[in-house]
């Protein structure tokens, strides 16, 4: 793979991987470590990936899996400490969003991210995460229900 292609891949996907990793670990340092690891893995697997869409889907899956590997007590993480990563966020505005996100199970967070932020459809998410479409619908329903206050509040709340 030439250097141009490497740079292209990093520029295209690093934000996405970091965003997924952060939502699964809530620690920027860990998220950055995971992001680096994902790209290393990509190097030895890229020849198997057929297209840009395929690469993206693969990256999403591997990122999620590495997050689980990284954090064995991952399932217990239901609190969130913003102070360590304060330079990235607005404590008042983003703190609430992240705190509420942290209360969700990882699968819910990932589905929310893929649906609302990445704009995937339910059957596409099902294929990426290797789940049944109905399962994805259920996860999305529950996550939205729990997050609706946080997801949809406009700026007026923080005026």
């Amino acid at each position: 793979m030439d250097i141009q292609r490497i740079e292209e891949l990093v520029n295209k996907h690093s934000n996405m991987i970091l965003q997924i990793a952060y939502q699964n670990t809530f620690n920027m340092q860990e998220a950055e470590d995971i992001t680096q690891e994902v790209f290393i893995k990509l190097m030895s697997n890229i020849s198997k990936l057929e297209s840009e869409e395929h690469i993206k889907a693969w990256l999403i899956r591997v990122t999620i899996n590495l997050c689980r590997d990284h954090n064995k007590s991952f399932w217990n993480k239901n609190t969130y400490e913003l102070d360590e990563d304060i330079k990235y966020f607005d404590k008042e505005k983003d703190g609430e969003v992240l705190a509420e996100l942290a209360k969700l199970k990882p699968n819910h967070r990932n589905v929310i991210y893929l649906y609302y932020y990445q704009g995937y459809k339910i059957n596409e998410i099902a294929q990426i995460l290797n789940m049944n479409s109905n399962t994805v619908s259920s996860l999305l329903t529950r996550a939205r229900s729990e997050l609706k206050d946080v997801l949809t509040k406009g700026d007026e709340v923080y005026a």
Binding site: V62, R68, E124
Partner: protein, 654 residues
């Protein structure tokens, strides 16, 4: 769009420093790969990822994911490897005055596109104001605000189907999201499996949507026709949200679309590359490229793959060393670049020695197919791919892989010269220097990843702290006491039931240590069975069963345990369980000093169809659901042996 969430997530950006670090690491890794004696380059050419449709057909994940973009006017199905040429719009045929509606929605057929191999139907769905209002009211009733309801677009449909049954044989809704779909062509019904795709695009959130339905129709259904009438009856539209009952999730419309379809225009502008001498034949394997159709919108390769010397044992059994299985394909252009394909099984037939054929797929039948006197299995496949340069030379690689032997073989190649309209096929039979784990099939990759995921999930399962309302668990106490009798009062309810309760529960959860593999044995009656040895039957059984009870347990049909040649075996996969099993009551029938006889009344209810609230109610107040339970009584007897209460009569409740 959820503003707050998106704004927060957008702030998570990889810094330039991080990107530099990543790029540097990747460069180092690249050097390592290249230094592996050139195998990196070789693998790049020969690894396979199974195509999306094939993966979908066998129930695993797909290859592609779209960027989520939509192209109005045509379905966005690139993630399936289906990409239409720029000439698509020239073949759109507008349709007028065809719609079906009720008080909730209006579904109108807008246009059709028909090409050799597929038809695309463009529908427009409008939600009525009253339906939107009623849905909104339901959500508000659940605590949502109007703004939240609008922003989340809760009116968006998720799936659509026609002609399909509402319920399948096990009484579940299958309708819109089923992988089966039924089409009616010139009055004749055809069931298609995995040959329907759809794409839903938003015109105005909450109110209007474009729905594209694509059917792959082949000569099996069209029988050589270029013009036909397609009938689609009684649309079922699945709503997005599953917070409501099943009935509320589905909108059923009564009515039909009768669509006059012609692919003549597309066929007039198509080229066909007929195949001569286009067969790869190696031993029992053959792969014959029948023809390549270059339509204005896509290209289609039709292939027949035959596996000979097939029997009931080796025809479809992945675990059999002689299994050959279906071919898998990879397509390259003249620059040796991979071309995304969408591969479909159109037909799978089991050919008997007398020449008769039994259809075995891709549609599944509830009846087991006749696999006697086998000769071969024939797979008919369509490979669909995006239009390429007319002067291109394409190479279709044909592979097989054997899971049992963990080998991958490149069986041969079909070279397709589009300019000269020639096909040349070469048999290679080359075993590749990679195992199935390195095969690179996307399905395998996902399976490997999923397996790891499941291991971690299981590992962490016990550590996970569930919140109170998180998951409702069926109560641990299986047995309840009812209607205290005089005897119970005399002996003491606790004394009479606690032992029995504990023993019953122990037997419900009986776990044995088993051997590593299944084996075939012959019973004294001459019956041949697939069994697995139970290694610690005595040790486990002696804890709970009386001497007589142990004998009865072994021979009981409900336990699937048999005793042959001084060994204890589990037959098949052991007992299955009825998921609707809820609870068992023990009702005392008779008691003496050393024997107690009970009626074990097992109760069943479709608890999985209840809402969370109802389920909680069921756990706390099961008496409120008495009229919904189905009951089954069995005898349950405990006896006192050597001072211990042990079970003599027991039947598994499910």
């Amino acid at each position: 769009m959820p503003k707050n969430y998106n704004e927060t997530i957008s702030k998570i950006q990889a810094s330039e420093e991080l990107k530099k670090k990543i790029i540097e690491n990747m460069k180092q890794e690249n050097i390592k790969e290249l230094n592996k004696g050139g195998t990196f380059v070789k693998i790049r050419k020969t690894l396979i990822a199974i195509s999306t449709a094939l993966a979908l057909l066998i129930g695993s994940g797909a290859v592609y994911a779209a960027f989520g973009g939509t192209i109005f006017g045509r379905p966005a199905l690139e993630y399936l490897g289906i990409t239409f040429s720029d000439e698509y719009e020239e073949y759109v045929v507008p349709v007028e005055n065809q719609s079906v509606e009720n008080d909730k929605v209006k579904l109108s057929l807008v246009s059709t596109v028909c090409d050799d191999g597929f038809i695309v139907l463009n529908f427009n769905l409008k939600n009525s104001d009253s339906y939107i209002a009623s849905q909104k009211a339901k959500y508000i009733n659940k605590g949502w605000t109007e703004e939240e309801f609008a922003e989340m677009d809760m009116m968006e449909p998720i799936a659509i189907s026609f002609n399909d049954k509402k319920y399948d044989d096990i009484d579940e809704w299958v309708g819109a999201t089923s992988s089966y779909s039924t089409v009616i062509i010139d009055g004749k019904e055809f069931e298609l499996r995995g040959r329907k795709e759809y794409d839903i695009q938003t015109v105005e959130a909450g109110k209007e949507y474009e729905i594209y339905v694509l059917y792959f129709l082949t000569d099996y259904e069209l029988e050589g026709k270029d013009e036909f009438t397609l009938t689609l009856k009684n649309p079922i539209i699945k709503n997005l949200d599953e917070d409501f009952s099943i009935e509320e999730q589905y909108i059923e419309l009564k009515g039909e679309f009768n669509i006059e379809v012609s692919k003549k225009k597309a066929m007039r502008n198509s080229d066909i590359v007929e195949a001569k001498n286009s067969e790869i034949k190696i031993g029992d394997f053959s792969d014959k490229l029948e023809k390549v159709v270059l339509t204005p919108l896509q290209n289609i390769i039709k292939i027949t793959n035959t596996c000979s010397n097939r029997t009931a044992e080796n025809a479809f059994s992945l675990a059999n060393k002689d299994y050959i299985g279906e071919a898998e394909y990879k397509l390259f252009n003249s620059n040796d670049e991979l071309i995304p394909i969408h591969s479909l099984w159109i037909n799978i037939e089991y050919v008997h020695k007398d020449g008769t054929r039994t259809k075995v797929g891709p549609e599944e039948s509830m009846d087991a197919p006749d696999l006697t006197n086998g000769d071969s299995v024939v797979y008919t496949t369509y490979i669909i791919f995006e239009k390429t340069d007319k002067n291109d030379n394409l190479t279709l690689n044909v592979y097989t892989y054997n899971e049992y032997l963990n080998t991958v073989k490149l069986m041969g190649t079909h070279s397709i010269n589009l300019n000269k309209k020639e096909i040349k096929s070469n048999a290679l039979n080359k075993q590749l220097d990679i195992t199935t784990e390195q095969f690179g099939r996307f399905e395998d990759l996902y399976n490997h990843v999923t397996g790891t995921l499941m291991e971690i999930e299981e590992e962490n399962y016990e550590d996970y702290e569930y919140e109170d309302d998180d998951i409702v668990e069926i109560p641990a106490d299986t047995v309840v006491v009812k209607n205290e009798t005089e005897l119970e009062k005399e002996i003491g309810t606790k004394e009479l039931y606690n032992n029995a309760n504990d023993l019953y529960n122990d037997l419900l959860g009986l776990l044995f240590e088993i051997g590593e593999d299944y084996e075939k044995i012959k019973t004294p009656s001459g019956e041949e069975l697939d069994v697995i040895e139970i290694l610690n039957f005595d040790e486990v059984a002696d804890k709970f069963l009386s001497k007589k009870g142990k004998e009865q347990f072994i021979n009981s049909e409900s336990s699937s345990i048999i005793f042959v040649n001084n060994k204890v075996y589990l037959v098949g996969a052991g007992r299955g369980s009825d998921v609707s099993y809820w609870q068992t009551e023990l009702i005392l029938d008779k008691a003496t000093d050393d024997t107690r006889e009970y009626t074990a009344r097992s109760k069943y209810i479709e608890w999985y169809n209840l809402s969370d609230e109802e389920l909680k109610n069921l756990c706390k107040n099961p008496e409120n659901f008495e009229d919904q339970f189905t009951c089954k009584d069995e005898k349950f007897t405990i006896v006192k042996e050597n001072g211990n209460w042990l079970v003599e009569d027991f039947t598994m409740p499910n």
